[in-house]
Each structure stands twice: as C-alpha cells, then as structure tokens.
C-alpha cells in the first residue's frame, strides 16, 4: 500500500492481502504445533529410556540374588545348623512333602454363598464363558475349582512334547501373542478384537502370563481353561516368569496368597508343577519358530526336544544346581553311586532319600522349622538317585538349552555372548539367527520377553520379531500391545492396541505427562537409594563445601554412581535446583523423599542398604517363611541379615541389626512381621499427593 496518497484499494487487493496474512498465520501455528509435538515425542522417548534403564538395572539385582544364593551354598557350613536352612528351603519348594500331589479336591467344601463359576470337568464352553464373565465382574474362582483346573492342566501338559508342531493347512489364521504379565484387560481386549479361542481362531501364547500385573491368576486360569477346552487350538509356551523364584520377586506368589488364604500353598505348588511342564517352543509349518526369549549358538532343537523339561524349575535353581554339582564334585568325588546316599557334613544336600518312601514328619508348629537330612525332599535329586549319575556336563547342557530359550535377547552385533544383565541366557546376533534358520530350515523366529513401545519390533533383517502384548507395561501410556496373525502364506500381520483407563480419551500430552511423572519418580528413587555414594562423590568436587557443583560435574557423578545411561543434563530440571549462577544444589534432589515409617535405630548406612535391596530381602524372607504367614523368627532374621550383609561386603554393625530386630518385634513373641518391617524401607515421595492433585486440577481445566 502506498504511503501518502490514499489509493483506493480494490476489493481483490484487500482480499489477497487477507489471504496472504491468513496463510502466514496458518504457517506460524503449524510450525509452533509441530515443535510442540516434537518436544512431546522427545519427552516420551526419554521417559521410555528411563523405564527401560531402571528395568534392566533391576534385573541385574536378580543376578545379585543368584550370586547371594551361591554365596550361601559356599558358606552354609558356617551356619552350624542353627540358621535357617535357606538352601534346602530354596531348592525344595514343597512345603509339605507328605502332601500327596493328588489332593482330594472333592473334599473341599464350596459354600452356597459362592456365586462364582462352578466348573465341571471336562470343561465346556459354558465353563469358559462363566469364567470370562466372572473375571469381568471381579470375582475370584473358588480354590476347589482352581486346584482341579490346575490338576487337569498338569495331566494334559504331561502328554505334550517340548516342541509343539502346528500346521496352517487345517486351521484358519493363527494368532500369536506375547507377554501378558497378569494384564487381564489386555487379554480381554485381544479376545474382543480377535475372537475367543476356537477351531476358527487358534492361538499361541508365548509365555510370561504372570507377575507384575494384578490379575495374573485370572489371566492364567483363562489360558489354561481354553487349553483344556481346545488343546488343538490353544498353545502355550513357557516364559521365564513361569518360575517360582521369579514369582516370589515379581508378585505372583503374593497375589495367590492374598486371594487364596487357605489353600494358597497347595495352589502355588500346583502352579509350579504346571509351569515346569509347559512346552518350550512352537513351530508352525516347520518354518516359524516361536520361543519366549530367544536362542544361543548352542541351541539345538533336536536335543531340546529330548530333554526332560519339567526338571528345570527355573533360573536360580539352575545356578544353584550347577554350584551344588561343583561342590559335591569337590567334596566327594567317588561318592555318588546310584543307590547309596553319601552324607558328609559338608554335602547335606547330596543325600537322596530312597525314592519310594515319604518319611513322615511332625507338622511344623512354627515357621522356623529346620529341615533335617533324612526327610529332605529335593525333587531333582530324586531323579539323580534313580539313574546312574549323569555327569554334570550333561545336566549343564540340558539346563543351558532351556535357560537360553527362555532368557536370551537379540542384539545387532554378530556373535553370542552371555546375557549379564539378566543373569541367564545370551545376547545373540544376526549370524546366530542365520545359522539356526539354515540348520533347521526355518525362515522366521518369533519371540517376546522385551517390552517394545509399539508392541512389536523387527530385527536381524526381519528374521526376528519381538511381540509384546501387555500395553501400558511401565505406566499408563508407555507403550502399545500387539499380536500377530498369520495365514498359509506365513506372512505376519500386526495388530496393535492400547488399553485405556476410563472412558475419556487421554490426549497424547496427558499420557506423556503421566508416564513421565512415573518415570521420574522411579528415577528419583534410584537417587535416594544411592544417597551416600552420591553425596560422597559430590563432595569430591565440592572442595569448599558450598553445596554446589557444576552441571557437568553433577551429570558425571550420576552417570558413574548409578550407571544408568540416561540424558542427565536434559533431565536435570526435573531432579535438582540451580542457583542463580547456574550451579547445581546437589542435595535438593533428596528433599521430597523419605521413608515409610521412622525407625530410630536405623543409621543412614543401614537404611540405604535396606532400601536398595528391599526386593531381594523380601524374596529371601518369603522363602524362609514357608507357610507364607508373613512372620519369621528373630533368629532367622538375624542370621539371614548377617549372611546377606557379609555377602554384600557392607559394613553393618551386628549390634545395630540385633537392636533393630528386637525393636521390630512389637509383640515380643520372637517373631517379626516382615511386611511391616519392609514397609519402613519403601521410598515415599512426600510431595506426591500434591503433584497428583495439581495434575488432576490441570486436567479438569484442560479437559
């Protein structure tokens, strides 16, 4: 437009200017919005990385636990028979060895007030429908029917080979699902979207049905029920969580004991039997191999098909077994002949009882029973005694084959090396996959075991697919779940989903916020439980005791102490405060965290150790507490704690432990409620309810 002379602007000129302005405005908004979405995506990635790092760090703790048990095995002579015989309790999961496996289920009364499903065997469609409805209504299946179901499942599984072969010639598309981890909503969503299991809709479920989620029992009952109903169309592979030590740590045991107070022990025992009988692999048309974890360079499918899979109870047992073999080999080289029992004081475990008798024992009146040698029942040593002793290498080979299948992860570099994070299995490269494919004429490996943001992921040039079916695994909004459908063409098609809480659709922003907040909380807990190490390292940079270090120094300390590979500078604003000059006030990250209850006797050093190893300690207590009463004796507590801290190399004053033990024994009856004890060492976020509140408020504003 000119200045000065008022040229008459034509209508079109005005319009053109308006349009140009509108376009500029639109571009601006679009660019801003794209920037906003990019930031959101970045936060989502960081959040994901946090969850994954912490999960893998947690799995290193599993290794810690295994090494602790090995340590105990090496040192149990020092217990002088006075301490809890953890080894036997660990290896012998049977609480009541004289309890016949074929319990009289019909003896269990079901009250008239019970409105849940009353199953009749053999199962029919009305039974499975009743189960579906009952679980949707939050009902619990009565122990009697659960026990019967497990018994029938066990019988049927016994007839199955280690590797199950399927063919697409006779069936419609096969659906393959990954980890469910007790997420009933995901299973119901899959059934809803894809159809219930039937001749038209055959399924393969690839392990890890239990642990972490709150409805493991419901998930596994449905899977087993459909398996009993349609054994030709419902296929279950074993996962690494179908293992009683994992169940102790990751929640399945607790869930069973909470929902089944009377019959929990028997139920757990049966679950253990069933889990160890689950097949290890499924093969479709001789071309698609489906296993839970992966493979190793030693994997030999023919050999795998021949092992007695039920002997392998789980990973920790494997490690202990190997250690035990090494020990007995050292101690009594010539002793293990087939029928005699050799018992020197240092090899109390190498005494197989005669296979036929069940030595009666008085019923334990207190949890602190100490097992004596003669009545010890160690399941796999039974089989050892009835054959000429297999040389340990043979055993080792069998166990390793199975552990590799259940625990391995694919990696992008060639080669095969031990999976040190998980403590079992291998990292296998594309060359290992290639070799196995060639060796057995396969074209695809489908596995699960790792959470993926989109529910599935391909690697090794498309030869390996990871399929994961538990959506929102880490937190609401963290990831999708997925399943595969495959027809005669053997080309996988992926179906994704995400279970949402409530009916209101969350925006991406809200989902990211929720997940991020949860990840940051978990991260802060890592900081809290490593407080003294962190502070010591900070002080090394902070010579003048100003309470501050530079951002670089702060990031460096965190990286080296926590050993989590995360973008610390980017996360810094969420974790610590800066001074006006841009230095980090390193103590500010501990401000809003504290412990559950206050225990006066607890020194900071002790407290931190307890915080950090809380889960491991919980597992150990659960093992000692065989009848799952929640109580252990003070003596057991003391012994266990001393042993554990000796193993950790932690300098804990024994007197402090004794004082602590006594102070926790509130009833002064010599037993400790360890759940209460451990409550004291749960990290509490003091600001939590305020954060939650303000998030709720901002949510209702934004709607």
């Amino acid at each position: 437009m000119g200045c000065g002379t008022s040229a008459v602007a034509t209508e079109t000129q005005v319009k053109r200017v308006e349009e140009a302005e509108a376009m500029k405005a639109a571009v601006l908004i679009q660019r801003w919005y794209r920037r906003y979405m990019a930031h959101l995506e970045m936060r989502r990635r960081y959040t994901w990385n946090i969850f994954q790092s912490i999960e893998y760090a947690g799995e290193q703790d599993q290794l810690q636990l295994s090494s602790f048990f090995s340590f105990m095995l090496d040192n149990f002579t020092q217990l002088n028979g006075n301490g809890p015989d953890l080894i036997s309790q660990l290896l012998d999961p049977v609480l009541d060895p004289w309890l016949g496996r074929e319990t009289c289920f019909s003896c269990i009364p079901v009250p008239d007030s019970y409105t849940g499903p009353r199953l009749t065997f053999p199962l029919s469609v009305s039974d499975t429908n009743a189960l579906l409805n009952a679980f949707k209504e939050q009902q619990t299946l009565h122990a009697k029917y659960l026990l019967q179901l497990l018994c029938e499942t066990k019988k049927l599984l016994r007839q199955m080979p280690n590797i199950v072969h399927l063919s697409t010639s006779y069936t419609k598309d096969i659906t393959i699902c990954g980890d469910l981890h007790g997420r009933l909503d995901d299973l119901l969503l899959i059934f809803y979207k894809n159809g219930l299991p039937s001749a038209e809709t055959p399924y393969v479920f690839n392990g890890d049905f239990v642990d972490r989620g709150k409805k493991s029992i419901e998930v596994v009952v449905l899977l087993f029920a459909y398996f009993l109903l349609y054994p030709d169309y419902m296929h279950l592979n074993r996962g690494n969580h179908e293992d009683h030590i994992m169940n102790l740590r990751y929640g399945f045991t607790k869930e069973v004991m909470q929902k089944y107070k009377t019959h929990g022990r028997e139920i757990l025992q049966l679950f253990q039997d069933v889990f160890s009988l689950l097949p290890l692999a499924t093969v479709i048309d001789g071309k698609i191999l489906i296993v839970h974890g992966g493979i190793s360079d030693q994997t030999d499918l023919d050999f795998l098909n021949s092992v007695e899979r039920h002997k392998v109870r789980g990973l920790v047992c494997f490690i202990l077994r190997r250690r035990h073999c090494q020990l007995t080999h050292q101690d009594s080289a010539a002793s293990c002949s087939s029928s005699s029992s050799s018992s020197s004081s240092s090899s109390t475990l190498c005494s197989p009882r005669s296979p036929s008798s069940l030595s009666p024992r008085p019923c334990p009146s207190s949890p602190s029973i100490h097992f004596t040698v003669n009545s010890l029942q160690v399941p796999f040593l039974d089989s050892l005694s009835s054959l000429s002793p297999p040389s340990p290498p043979q055993y080792e080979r069998e166990w390793k084959q199975i552990v590799d299948i259940l625990w391995s992860d694919p990696k992008n570099q060639d080669g095969c090396y031990p999976n040190t994070f998980r403590g079992g299995g291998c990292y296998f490269g594309p060359d290992v996959t290639q070799r196995l494919m060639l060796q057995h004429g396969l074209q695809l490996l489908i596995r699960s075991h790792e959470c993926k943001q989109e529910g599935y992921e391909l690697c090794h040039g498309g030869r390996v697919i990871t399929i994961f079916s538990a959506s929102n695994y880490y937190e609401e909004g963290s990831n999708r779940g997925a399943y595969i459908k495959m027809g005669k063409d053997l080309i996988p098609r992926f179906y994704q989903y995400q279970v949402g809480r409530g009916t209101r659709k969350l925006t991406l922003t809200q989902r990211v916020r929720v997940a991020e907040s949860s990840a940051l909380k978990a991260l802060k807990e890592q900081l809290f439980t490593h407080r003294s190490e962190l502070m010591a390292a900070f002080k090394e940079f902070d010579h003048n005791n100003t309470g501050c270090v530079s951002v670089s120094e702060w990031a460096q300390v965190l990286e080296s102490v926590l050993r989590l590979d995360l973008p610390w500078r980017t996360l810094r604003p969420h974790l610590v405060r800066l001074t006006a000059e841009g230095a980090v006030e390193y103590e500010s990250c501990f401000e809003d965290m504290g412990s559950g209850t206050q225990l006066a006797q607890v020194t900071p050093n002790l407290a931190e150790t307890l915080f950090r190893y809380r889960t491991d300690i919980e597992i150990i207590f659960n093992i000692i507490d065989k009848d799952h009463s929640g109580l252990i004796s003070i003596e057991e507590f003391r012994q266990t704690w001393r042993l554990f801290s000796a193993h950790l190399g932690v300098d804990i004053n024994n007197q402090a432990i004794d004082d602590l033990a006594r102070s926790i024994d509130f009833n002064k009856d010599g037993s400790i409620d360890f759940t209460e004890f451990l409550e004291a060492f749960r990290v509490v976020h003091k600001l939590d309810k305020y954060q939650h509140q303000s998030r709720m408020d901002s949510n209702t504003e934004r709607l």
């Binding site: 405005a25 990019a38 930031h39």
Partner: protein, 162 residues
Amino acid sequence: MAAHRHNSEAMASDVHKKIKAAFKAFDYEANNTVDVREIGTIVFSLGCFPSQADLHDFIAQVEEDHTGFIHLEKFLPVMTNVLLEKRFPPIPEDKLLQAFEVLDKEKKGYLEQEELTKYMMQEGEVFTQEEMDEMLTALTDQKDNVIYYKDVIDELIIDNDI
C-alpha cells in the same frame, strides 16, 4: 584472543553434547544412526523452527544415499552449524497469539473446530489427517467444543525446557 577461542570451543562442546543427547534418544540400535523420519523431531527439540522446506533441505544434506538412516557423524557438524548460526530462529510467542487472532476473523475469542481444520489442512504447510486429529483432541475445550486459543497458547509454549 585465547580466552575468546576457549569460550567458543566450550560453547561448541556444549552444543555437541546437546545434539548428541537428542540424537541418542532415537538411536534405537545404539549404533549412532536414526531413522530419517525422526530428524524433524530432533531438530525441533533442539529449539529450532524450520519450515518444511528447510527440513527437506536439511535432510538432503545429512542423508546417506537413501538408506533411510542418518549417521551421527554427518548429522553432528551440520546441526552444530545450524545451532551456532541460529539458522531457524524461534518465532516469538506473541506472534502466535496474533496468528490466531488473524484467523479468528469475527473476533470471537475462539475458533470453531471446522474453522481451524480448514486453515490447518488447506493453508500453508498443511497438516496430515493424523496431525489434525491430534491437534483437535489436544486443544478443543470439551464442554464448548471450540478452541479457546488464548488458553491453548499457554499449553503450547509451556514445555520449553527440554
């Protein structure tokens, strides 16, 4: 002179660290490569406001012969220059408000969903349907079914620190 050089070196080093951190977030296989489709996200998250044309040019500079992957070695120097030269400077927040006001011809104080959709999908650097759906879900007031743009601006600019 030496101090000045040291400062610019330190600055470059900081910039490098920032770029690497953002890159690594999308380096799924831990082999210093990212999918080319994530480049836009990375560039935006480093504080830049490229146009779609800018992005295309940028990608052309860093792409390795159409493998679909970008290597850190190529990305780092190009991105460093972009940041040091401030090549895609941010648009000030008040301009954003003005932009919405331009689109709100009737000066209602809000935009109807159809209005916004028309502009976003027909003008400028058009949105895909997916982008449009997400924007509507994120910005629409659930009660009144319109976009109160003054409020949403706070939402859009709030996540500045990452």
